[in-house]
Amino acid sequence: MAKIGTAQNGSSVHNGSSNGHGAADRYSIDGLRAMVRPGEIHSALYTDPAIFELEIERIFHRSWVYIGHESEVPNGGDYRLRSIGRQPVMMVRGADGVVRVLMNRCRHRGAIVCETESGNEKIFRCWFHGWTYDTTGRLMSISLPDGYGEDFDMKAHSLSPAPRVGNYRGFMFASIGTDGPSLTEYLGEASKMIDLLIDSSPTREIEVDAGCNKTVYNGNWKMVGMDGYHPNFVHASAVEMWQRKADTGMGATHRSNPFGNKTSTVTRSLGHGHAMLDLRKQRLEHYEDYEPFLRSLPGGPEFIDAIIARDGEDAGRRLIASAGDPHVGIFPNMQIIHNQVRIITPLAPGKTEVFMFPVLLKGVSAQINAQRLRQHESFYGPASAGSPDDAEIFERTQRGMMAQVDPWLDISRGIHREYVDTDGTIVGHATDEVPQREQIRQWLKMMTGDEAESSAALSA
């Protein structure tokens, strides 16, 4: 591994000139690589505007990113405005029933052709000069067409589709990059975690159309990750609140601390930057605590019976215990945590939006879905018992990192005890920083374009 910028002084990356390298070197392949050491990363990854620009270009405008779920656009003409990194796109179901991801940019002189966040349209009209497109993106008409010659090619002026679009069981992903792994290959082991959510519905169908809690915090996008070390501190107030009501749904799963020293929860990295807090075993141990609560809800017994009839006693119990929560982060912008799917959008080195979309299950009672919403609201969203404390700590971190005397962040926790599981995933204790290392491993790979060096960079 190149050792540029790794002089004895811990702040060598910042003081590039002192060891013979100019400031520009910091952003070279070797410079970026020097910001990642075994168990340590340089805080410039979170604070430097130039690195942020490189992340947008090399990660968000190249990787597969999550756009939305098919169920958000059930009918022809339904659309949602989203983004790929900084680029505005629309996820739209065409009159032909196909869900597309189209760049929201008129092919004439560049204005967006759709300005409201969601809705249904028969056509998309650019109000700059009146060009109109149908719901498949085809250019239908140009105002005052006499101004264009006979050889003007209407077909070549359709709304541009995202270069690559993939659909995994209803979850739509897109990529600005024209090459790279297929979506299936990219998701890899993480696709099984998406399955865990979908299969928790008796009909294996979900609906991601229950609205959205939109949050924003003044911190870097990479902070909102899978972290089993933080709950006892960041969420001390919520843990205390649940423990005094141990018979409620949330309380039941906290009778033994899922992030305590003796927990059976593990951290698991799934490759390509994807990682999870694997609560499956811990939840199964508490099946007997959780099941009566679920059974007490209207439609609860039918729900339980339907899953067990479909999957058998063992697999059914595992699925019910997990309650559709894989607790997984899919690099770079998607998370599935508890009852929600999240989209993470980086706005600036120190500013990030997190949109939280609660998921409803098909084939269950209205009361069970209402309960899913109430559970979500209790811990997530701007007025809840959880997310605002996360955001507060991210903001404190962003402020703290401005102290640059020793600019390295320690992500070494558990590096000595992590192990490779039979399926090739890397496993650590619930509180270990396996997910942080996985995220940075993929970060470095995409930022430097070098797979082998990046995989080795974080190892002990």
Binding site: F355, M356, L373, P382
Partner: protein, 159 residues
């Protein structure tokens, strides 16, 4: 004239509620609520169906109690330091009144200062009040935030 007296009484009640919220007097504020209560802050739009759509807050008595219990503790980081709050209540309209229930609508401008940042929140409150002698208790309160469809930061104080 009777009408004016009722409006004055409702205003007095709402001003007192505003004071308690501004000064984080959680127990005193909780004491304003009726036994069977609903505290609702819709998300994304004002007219959503809370059984199918996510809210910002949709509390019954137990959930509201949890919320206040947490805020009173020492580890609710998003309120360390606390938001300093000052709100003006206006446009108070009594929408309906009978011998038991009074429904009122009002608007607020709420200034929040925390960590040197000042944020202005605006919204409309819909109160369903139960008459208790000369006073009221809150049975239902719905807060329609003007920005309920926009990304927002910390909303862990009382609105």
């Amino acid at each position: 004239m009777e009408d004016l007296q009722l409006i004055r009484a409702v205003e007095r009640f709402l001003y007192r509620e505003a004071d308690l919220m501004d000064s984080h007097r959680y127990d005193d504020w909780f004491a304003l609520w009726d036994e069977e209560l609903r505290y609702w802050v819709p998300c994304n739009a004002d007219d959503i169906d809370p059984a199918r759509q996510v809210s910002l807050i949709y509390d019954n008595r137990g959930q509201l109690e949890d919320r206040l219990y947490r805020l009173k503790g020492r580890h609710a980081h998003a309120q360390r330091p606390r938001s300093r709050l000052m709100r003006a209540i206006s446009n108070v309209i009594v929408e309906s009144a009978d011998s038991e229930i009074v429904k009122a609508r009002s608007q607020f401008v709420l200034g929040e200062v925390r960590l040197d940042r000042q944020i202005v929140w605006l919204g409309r409150s819909l109160h369903t009040l139960v008459r208790r002698g000369d006073n009221f208790m809150i049975r239902e309160k719905t807060v329609l935030l003007l920005n309920n469809d926009a990304p927002m930061g910390n909303l862990t104080f009382l609105i």
